[in-house]
Symmetry: C2
Subunit: 323 residues, 2 copies
DNA sequence: CCTTGCAGTGCAAACGTTTGCATGCGAGCA
DNA sequence: TGCTCGCATGCAAACGTTTGCACTGCAAGG
């Protein structure tokens, strides 16, 4: 069991100096004689002293922690985000709280309210709360949103639009004429961005485009949609994300449609824990960069509302597209 | 931005009562007149008072948080664990820190050391630290291990042995004669348990058994192993987990081996974010139950070292096995 | 030699709670 | 009526830090 831990006064007493000096040895070593600092460090080491974060938080107001709220940790997109956030936090010497909302607005509210007071700030991914409420929340708590482009908020967007346009250009160059976009959850920001990119590119390149939707974003629903994809007469499929793409791929394979010979397929996120066969062409999202930006916003000295940071994904052509 | 939050004394002043009474209204409402409690609640609500966890932690020594340390968050096994842990923590009114080690012992040490002082206790999954060191750590910090059967520790095991034996019995009943076990990382506790179960069952049922290993536990390596599986002459494959099983499955499918007609396949964990085709027969692990037990050990009043809790997975026959 | 300034350190207050002890008050009982 | 008892609440200390201010002594400058 945990025995009583050494405190700053224990260390001070051991050295016959004041607690404030011990504190300074850790926080402002430049204001102390080097020998004093060394002595304190030695004694702290010997006594197993480790600063009490709660006491420190109480006086300084800095908690040494950040929060991360995601809707669904089993969606492979979010573990990638968690990993990036944790590494970024670690670099800054922060610990990270994680919570899941299950896309439930009520849970999301509660999680934000719980985390806010005990963290430097919280990162909320793919929020499902109404814009007005988000703005209200942003007023009284330090919060950065990921993939939620609500004006008035601090937000970072993992964007796939330009890579998607590039990918569609590539598909067209390889002979695609009829696109089919299999979208995801309608409320998702990425969904809007991706659908928009498909629409634009199709118009610009003179391609036909057909639109389907996997509202649940699940593999099973996507797999069932493969029939509709075929019925649309498309020769290239763009999928909302890799899970959807994977479902479509398997649906096509079962129907003996050869990919990419008869049908090209482009996914998004590059977050699958497994490889498909053929290997999925997709868009690799800059998780690390995006989260780093979010973290910077959180620990920034002055917050400015309405900061919009967009980081762009890059096209990763593998085996489900030709060329 | 965060404005100065209301404190217990603000609430007290607003009501003309003592701070201690406000505190008691939250912590020992039974010791107060019901009307007082109601008044405090109303005022707290109105002023937006929310208790400062750091101040509370400072005086009570209870932090209201637990830690969870996993090796690799992108392995679909662990998001399941994270989810279970978070729900369990939430039920108990605890927040949850999460950190990732990347299977790096040094990082694991550091994460444990960082989390221990600021939590009620920490759950460490699939530790890669030597037994002696774990026992040392367990002496001075409240820690529960998951899938690490080191004597002397508090540990909970998500066991698949009995379900696996049942599954192999089923395979044999359906005509399987030569098993092939495709194992995972050698240091993993689950690996030992599963390999052992295969060995035992094979002996008991008079089946031949061939052993391969996907040391990295990755889809790609497993997929490449499909050739060796075929070479072994097996008619049924047991895989370390669903990722490995998925790799083997795809490798077999590419070689035009029909599953389950020509080859049965049994995975483990039931943690894949996608469905395979045919749907994977597997062993569903009791994440919720296991984590709940771990949580109970952590918040228990008296800790007893060397507590071993085993929760058993259940066989889930789907489409990669016959019958 | 006296003053000034600065580097190094100590003192004590403050952060927001919780809690043991003290206090006051009304009810019950003799 | 007087005494005891228990309930509801207040008082103040304590948790472990950090930090503004005060103090000391020494070096440098006049």
């Amino acid at each position: 069991m945990t025995v009583a831990r050494a405190s700053v006064v224990d260390v001070a007493r051991a050295l016959g100096i004041a607690p404030s000096t011990v504190s300074r040895a850790f926080n402002h070593p430049d204001r102390l004689r080097p020998e004093t600092v060394a002595a304190v460090q030695e004694a702290a080491e010997r006594l197993g002293y480790v600063p009490n974060r709660h006491a420190r938080a109480l006086i300084t107001g800095r908690t040494g922690a950040i929060g991360l709220i995601v809707p669904d940790i089993t969606n492979p997109f979010f573990p990638k985000l968690v990993r990036a956030a944790q590494r970024s936090a670690e670099q800054r010497g922060l610990s990270m709280f994680v919570a899941e909302t299950g896309y439930d607005p009520e849970k999301e509210r509660r999680q934000i309210a719980t985390m806010a007071p005990q963290t430097e700030g919280v990162i909320v991914a793919s929020s499902r709360l109404p814009d007005d409420e988000l703005r209200l929340i942003a007023q009284r708590t330090r919060v950065v949103f990921i993939n939620n482009d609500t004006p008035g908020l601090s937000r970072v967007l993992l964007s796939s639009g330009s890579a998607l346009r590039e990918g569609i250009g590539h598909l067209a160059a390889q002979g695609a004429r009829r696109l089919c976009y299999v979208g995801g959850p309608a409320r998702s920001w990425s969904e809007g961005e991706r659908r928009g990119a498909v629409r634009e590119s199709a118009a610009a390149l003179g391609l036909e485009a057909h639109y389907l939707r996997d509202e649940s974003g699940t593999y099973a629903e996507a797999r069932a949609l493969a029939k509709s994809v075929l019925a649309s007469g498309a020769d290239a499929v763009i999928a909302f994300d890799d899970v959807v793409a994977h479902g479509v791929l398997d649906g096509l394979l079962v129907a003996h449609v050869r990919v990419p010979e008869k049908m090209s397929l482009l996914g998004c996120d590059d977050a699958l824990p497994i490889q498909t066969h053929p290997r999925m062409s997709t868009i690799r999202l800059p998780f690390t960069e995006g989260v780093r930006a979010a973290m910077a916003l959180i620990v920034a000295d002055e917050v400015e509302a309405d900061t919009r940071i967009e980081v762009a994904g890059v096209l990763e052509l593998r085996e489900t597209t030709r060329g």
